[in-house]
Point group: D2
């Protein structure tokens, strides 16, 4: 069950070449993960980050076409694989029918000391439901 965040390209996102500065895309992807945890998994970051965190362990990104000031982007997140304490995600950013970016990342669920801890309880159930739902 893909989750989509719709977002306009703002002035702050753009560089002197008048296209999205690529580090800003990663802020958008992080916003998408954050909204997904809040709205879909029922685990907002202000609660999760009281004693845990979900740092990104790797991310592979292809930028297929530039995005310009004012473009409306659909940022789609799909849960791909759930590990003991990891989560593989796929991202697709589109403007209308035009693909702009594809990415694949792995998040790790860590505890207060920064070491991986298993996904458990309601959060694991919600993530498992996301994976099954995409089959």
């Amino acid at each position: 069950m893909p989750y989509t965040l719709r977002r306009k390209v703002m002035f702050k996102d753009c560089d002197p070449a008048r296209i999205v500065f690529y580090p800003r895309y990663f802020e958008m992807l992080n916003d998408t993960v954050e909204c997904f945890f809040d709205e879909v998994l029922g685990c907002p970051f202000e609660r999760l980050h009281q004693d845990h965190a979900v740092p990104t362990a790797r991310i592979d990104t292809v930028f297929t076409a530039p995005s310009r000031l004012g473009d409306w982007l659909d940022i789609t997140l799909t849960c791909i694989r759930l590990g003991r304490s990891s989560l593989d995600l796929a991202f697709a950013v589109r403007c209308g029918d035009e693909p702009r970016l594809r990415a694949a990342s792995t998040l790790v669920h860590v505890g207060p000391d920064g070491r991986p801890v298993p996904w458990t309880g309601e959060l694991r159930k919600a993530l498992e439901y996301q994976i099954k739902g995409t089959d």
Copy 2:
């Protein structure tokens, strides 16, 4: 011939988990490319961007350990392969002996209309020298 930018992790780079927020690493990598074009290739961005640009076409990144406020990072850029209008780069970020991040990216040299244009003249020569120098 690897190029290294030495940079302290600043307050602005860090997130509520007190580690570098990963989109900020991409700002550091972009800074490194920019300093490399200026100091090594003799082609500062303020000149290059008058009529060209070097957007990133893809970047694959592995975050091997978190970086904390105050850490001194050595960000090393190595030219890997020079295409007609592309350039493959490898990045390694270390704090002392500890690896923090590895990345591989491809830049594309584009003209005013955003289409790829060949590397030519002094800039191509300088890039070729970098590639040969790494053999």
Copy 3:
């Protein structure tokens, strides 16, 4: 007629002290100006910035209380005074009933060469309506 943008404090906005890093507030204020030009004045930045710009000439800001990850902020913009080529704005940021920030800024309408140009036509009319509406 005040305009309000409602916005959650995201992970990217927060610093290691777990509160909004103050430069991020200025991105929020800029977003608010941008949404106001688009939604209220009918002049989106992607059109305005084809040949004009509205740089900030000064901004005075008081931070009355910190904002935390997950807080919902109401960012209110009020047009205060319209000059020949300038615009005075007032901002108030609140979380529920609690004030977080007050700011007063002046924007300048500039042409392609960066020099001030008068507000004219529909844009001036829309701005005048905003000022009168606040009386």
Copy 4:
């Protein structure tokens, strides 16, 4: 005794109008405070922020001329007044002889609960020395 940080305007600082996006100036000012605490006061942020913080309570800023990609900026910080738990600062940003920005801010020294705590010990002494030195 003014402290100056010299810094080139980088690609990441600039907006589609090809000038420094004003929220990025506040990142530069924060970097300057951070370097000043580290290099001049002998109190780096990685130590200070273990149990304290120095949030900005207000900042008034005038942008006198735009800065462009590649400009070298001299960012000068001067300690103006030391309160029980506050510190007034003045900033001037110049490119060569041309002024670009002036700002006046107040920082507050706070403890783990975010409440003001007096400047004490070596840090107060170092700050007092800065104030006297500017007479």
